[in-house]
């Protein structure tokens, strides 16, 4: 396929994937919340409430895009896009299957982290630009939270880069070929703390994407809707889509770094087109299992207090991830043949 054609197709695919995910993860979230609380969840619009996201979308789109008094018009309007656009761009380097990746960038991992840090900037500007005190408080909290959790996340990511010797996401996945115990989470020979590293990474993903129990950006019970307080209709909708896209990115990254990406748990990989589907199947299975866990966690734990949240990062996650970094370095140096 000619290159420009391929890129356009991928752009369409990625936007559709992000949009559909945002729409249907909301549905999954509500269904999951329902069943965890032993209710049914959405069920009126369409079979099993499957058309609910469309109804929600239409409702959001028909609302007036109201600019509150005292808000900064440019920042206020730009902020949702700053959350949404980088999240969608990150999809460009995610390897969905061996050859099913828009661009195999050598520094894919770095790129995703670079884009991910724009997310918090969007929240900060949104909170600041809407000129609402709750939004500003939420934005400030959000920034300190993101700074705190970016450190253990990056340290863990560096550990993984040290293990795999590359920042190319597809290469990282390729290095986990074979049986499922070749996935990094089970590679105790590389680092004894691998499962812990995965946990740290996963917790940081939750915190970075502002998911419960770390949803300080929203904190309905104390800050109305946090940074989103003043946002009407689709402004809020775009924030939400960005947030869900970020969750997908975060989980995809966890899957790629620790759970073997598109590798199947058995050493079997058909060639050609079938192989692409096979890889896609395993990648999406792991991805959605992890996303389900994220939803599950949200409806299990209450929101933490802010200082507990910062304590967790500075007193627990950062020291352990640093220790893991040193341990991995030692293990790689001392047992280089492994």
């Amino acid at each position: 396929m000619p290159e420009p054609f391929r890129v356009i197709l991928f752009i369409i695919f990625v936007m559709a994937f992000a949009g559909l995910n945002a729409a249907y993860l909301v549905w999954c979230e509500r269904k999951g919340a329902g069943h965890i609380q032993r209710r049914i969840g959405p069920k009126e619009v369409g079979p099993f409430g499957l058309l609910q996201p469309i109804a929600d979308g239409i409702k959001l789109m028909t609302k007036q895009l109201f600019l509150p008094k005292g808000a900064d018009p440019i920042l206020f309007m730009a902020a949702p896009l700053m959350v949404m656009v980088p999240a969608i761009m990150s999809f460009m380097v995610i390897p969905f299957s061996e050859t099913f990746v828009a661009r195999e960038v050598n520094i894919g991992l770095l790129m995703i982290f670079a884009f991910a840090s724009v997310n918090v900037l969007g929240l900060l500007l949104g909170g600041w630009g809407s000129g609402n005190k709750y939004a500003v408080i939420a934005a400030a909290r959000c920034v300190s939270q993101n700074i705190a959790y970016e450190i253990p996340m990056l340290v863990t990511a560096i550990t993984m880069v040290m293990v795999t010797n590359t920042m190319n996401l597809n290469e990282i996945v390729r290095s986990q070929a074979g049986w499922f115990f070749h996935w990094h989470i089970f590679r105790l020979d590389i680092s004894l703390l691998m499962p812990v590293a995965f946990l740290i990474f996963f917790v940081c993903t939750l915190a970075e994407t502002n998911r419960a129990p770390f949803d300080m950006a929203e904190a309905e019970s104390e800050l109305i809707a946090g940074a989103y307080t003043e946002y009407p209709g689709m402004g809020f909708g775009v924030f939400f889509m960005g947030e869900y896209a970020n969750i997908v990115i975060g989980c995809a990254l966890s899957v790629i770094l620790f759970l073997g990406g598109w590798q199947s748990p058995v050493p079997f990989h058909p060639a050609g087109f079938l192989g692409v589907i096979w890889g896609l199947f395993w990648f999406l299975t792991k991805l959605y299992a992890l996303i389900f866990t994220v939803i599950w966690i949200r409806w299990t734990y209450p929101r933490t207090q802010f200082y507990v949240l910062l304590n967790l990062s500075w007193k627990v996650l950062i020291p352990i991830s640093l220790f893991n970094l040193i341990l991995t370095a030692l293990q790689i140096k001392i047992f280089p043949w492994l």
Partner: protein, 146 residues
């Protein structure tokens, strides 16, 4: 230092226990009722507004218009009338109006009816924005039910 690790391990463990509980709930069947589509059976001792008990054979109210319920009602919310009819022993009930807006569901009327012609109904879907909707014609309601 050992306290730090102890707390860490017990904390992590408790988090997983929490996930286990909600995970179990997720698998279990739902317990809520889809109210407007489904209705819950009221318990035997539930007190709805009073209703007339029909005679099993004729389907007409068993009431013989003795007026005890009307007298016994502390809120004066029952008004009834009867007439003599040819070929029928005793009186026949022609009007039985319950003003449910003032009824306190005390049960005096049911107690004072010595002929077993009154009971509490199980109706609870009675919301209405108009006061007149709570002036019940119990004979009409009985006909509608059968």
């Amino acid at each position: 230092m050992s306290g730090y690790f102890k707390e860490l391990i017990s904390g992590t463990k408790s988090l997983f226990i929490g996930l286990g509980i909600t995970g179990k709930y997720f698998m279990e069947p739902v317990v809520t009722m889809q109210y407007p589509m489904e209705h819950v059976e009221m318990t035997p001792r539930f007190r709805g507004h009073i209703e007339l008990i029909p005679d099993e054979e004729t389907g007409e109210p068993k009431c013989i218009v003795c007026g005890m319920c009307q007298k016994g009602c502390p809120s004066k919310c029952i008004s009834l009338e009867g007439e003599k009819r040819e070929g029928v022993k005793g009186k026949v009930l022609t009007k039985y109006i319950l003003n449910f807006t003032t009824c306190s569901l005390c049960g005096q009327c049911v107690e004072s009816c010595k002929f077993g012609a009154l009971r509490f109904s199980k109706d609870y879907n009675l919301a209405s924005p108009r006061k007149e909707d709570f002036i019940f014609d119990l004979i009409k309601r009985l006909k509608e039910k059968s």
